[in-house]
């Protein structure tokens, strides 16, 4: 792989997140470098999804600092993450069920649209041009993900694997600089996993998108990621390149139990 890993673009320092008395994350620090694929792994309930939610502003950590491109980030609302070019997919598919594939992916570009509802109502000026301009971009995403044949299908009718792919498409449509993927391969068969891996690597390679990935399939994680963070019970127990993490005493203990 000839890609260049750049500087740190996201730096999380001493993040702690509590829900009442439940400690979801305790004193976690790690960083993400430009153009890398960064995996977050850990047993169930380790706080992986919470971590992603902290990164894109759905949860607000009680302690800790977040630096985005070197600037400390203030408390933010989820829609502000989109403006900072952070896109994500969800563990349980969070597509807009009543809309077609095309409309779902078009929605991904909503922050890039400037026209207002009056222009839309009159179908006048910017409204029409924008619609066409963004359609072109969306079709590129559709081509990339090889889902041309289903563009007009309501997403509710699609099989699971394709829905996951459409969700990736919706995130890609925003042309993000950082993409957060929450278990993109959960529940897929081998073939679908291979396709998804190919798309993730292609996104990383062709668009230079930084990817933060949560995944349970260790084979996939060790194969495609550049660095891995391991969480257990809301604490960080490992961080480094896949080979180092794989052989770490503590990580093996967390996954296989102490007696192993």
């Amino acid at each position: 792989m000839s890609k260049k890993i750049g500087d740190v673009i996201l730096d999380l320092q001493n993040i702690s997140l509590r829900f009442g008395g439940v400690k979801a994350l305790t004193d976690i620090s790690f960083n993400v470098k430009q153009h890398e694929i960064r995996a977050i792994i850990g047993p169930n309930g380790a706080g992986k999804s919470s971590m992603l939610n902290v990164i894109n502003g759905v949860y607000h950590p009680q302690e800790g600092k977040i630096f985005w491109h070197g600037n400390e980030r203030k408390k933010m609302e989820p829609h502000m993450a989109a403006q900072q070019n952070i896109a994500r997919t969800f563990q349980n598919i969070a597509l807009f069920k009543g809309m077609s594939v095309l409309d779902n992916i078009m929605t991904g570009r909503i922050t890039k649209m400037k026209s207002n509802f009056i222009e839309h109502a009159l179908w006048f000026g910017r409204a029409k041009n924008e619609e066409l301009e963004h359609r072109k971009k969306v079709e590129e995403v559709i081509d990339f993900l090889e889902i041309q044949h289903i563009r007009k299908t309501p997403v509710g009718r699609l099989p699971y694997g394709l829905q996951k792919r459409v969700e990736l498409g919706r995130a890609l449509a925003a042309e993000p600089t950082m993409l957060l993927l929450d278990e993109p391969m959960a529940g897929m068969n081998v073939e679908e996993k291979q396709d998804m891996c190919r798309f993730i690597l292609d996104v990383n390679d062709q668009f230079g998108t930084t990817i933060v990935l949560i995944e349970h399939d260790m084979g996939v994680v060790m194969d495609i990621s550049d660095r891995v963070v391991v969480l257990d019970y809301g604490k960080k127990i490992g961080d480094g390149v896949p080979d180092v993490v794989k052989n770490s005493e503590e990580v093996i203990k967390a996954y296989l139990g102490a007696g192993h």
Partner: protein
């Protein structure tokens, strides 16, 4: 055979994204508009205009307004009639208090007033959802009707809040006959339906539907929930407000606050449930069903009774009418929960293949 897309190739995105991409649909809509604008005025009787067509169009417009809010943006509301009342009384007051204001301008201002009130009562939607929101909008229903009765200024000090609407003068011409009123209502409804269709097929509509389907995902994508929901309330109330103004000025001529009852709000809600939640055409189908069915039963039941020689009193007929009406609503909800619009869609999909099985 007739309804088929074969051979209609789209070579540009503009062609693919037009309002009615299928040629047969375009022909159908144009025919329908021609019939409505030219054919109907030639043949329909005065009774048809003032008792059926005008109220049908007005309620279709109100249902369209509610459909924007409930069907597209997913916010349940039980205050549609109240927003119509705001529109009716606002139009009356603008006519009354501003010298020489054109009637269409006061209709538009009435819509804007209703939109303002709608935003106010839409504020709870930022915190609550579903049935709880419906209860909050119920407050609008009672509060607005109470206000209109309580403050005599709003009805120009008339007793019990009854207002008699001013003359309908457009470009110096007074509309008096039902045909003229019908054409006015029809024009307004067509323009507004078109505007609604345009909104729902563009990013405004996509934002509404995104909020409806999955609000967390919508906000992560970058949709601001608050403005999106409030815009839905504003647009919806605007439509209801204009419908209310038309209801007062073109249909009844004289209205009272209690006329805009909760029952009317429910009626509008039933229209979109029967017609199709989240469908522009469903609003029209639902309005037609809810308004025309009782009239149809009124005529059909005594006829049937006569046919079988059953001695029906008029009271029995009206009871049976209610029973049949309720039963039909239940039947439709069970057989096709997505409404008449979905039935129409399924029929179209079948027609595309007919007479071949696949």
């Amino acid at each position: 055979m007739l309804y088929r897309e074969a051979g209609q190739f789209k070579t540009t995105y503009a062609a693919d994204q037009q309002l009615f991409p299928i040629r047969q649909d375009r022909i159908g809509v144009i025919t329908l508009l021609l019939v409505a604008f030219l054919g109907v005025p030639l043949f329909a009787s005065e009774y048809w205009f003032s008792a059926i067509l005008i109220p049908f169009l007005i309620f279709a417009l109100a249902a369209l307004g509610l459909n924007v809010l409930t069907g597209y943006a997913g916010q349940l509301s039980l205050g549609s009639a109240a927003f119509m009342a705001v529109g009716a009384y606002a139009a009356y007051n603008f006519q009354l208090r501003i010298e020489g204001i054109p009637i269409l301008v006061s209709f538009a201002l009435a819509g804007l007033t209703a939109a303002g009130v709608g935003i106010l009562f839409g504020l709870p939607s930022l915190r609550i959802k579903g049935f709880y929101l419906a209860v909050a909008t119920l407050a609008a229903q009672f509060f607005i009707v109470w206000c209109l009765t309580k403050f005599p200024w709003l009805s120009n000090n008339s007793s019990s809040g009854v207002i008699s609407t001013q003359k309908l003068i457009i470009f110096g011409h007074e509309l008096t006959t039902p045909v003229e009123k019908y054409l006015l209502v029809l024009s307004i409804v067509v323009v507004m339906a078109l505007a609604a269709k345009n909104m729902v097929r563009s990013s405004t509509g996509r934002a509404w539907m995104a909020v409806r389907d999955m609000d967390v995902a919508a906000s992560v994508i970058g949709i601001k929930l608050m403005p999106t929901k409030l815009l839905a309330f504003a647009v919806s109330s605007f439509y209801c407000g204009v419908a209310g103004a038309l209801y007062a000025f073109c249909y009844l001529g004289s209205v009272e606050p209690d006329g805009f009852s909760l029952e009317m709000s429910f009626k509008i809600l039933f229209m979109i449930i029967i017609g199709g939640v989240g469908s522009i055409m469903g609003s029209f189908l639902g309005a037609a069903f809810i308004l025309l069915l009782p009239i149809f039963l009124d005529v059909a039941l005594p006829f049937l009774a006569g046919l079988f020689g059953l001695p029906f009193s008029s009271a029995t007929v009206s009871h049976i009418q209610i029973t049949v009406f309720g039963a039909l609503i239940m039947f439709f909800l069970i057989v096709e929960p997505h409404g008449l619009a979905r039935l129409w869609q399924i029929a179209k999909e079948k027609l595309r293949l007919w007479p071949f099985p696949h």
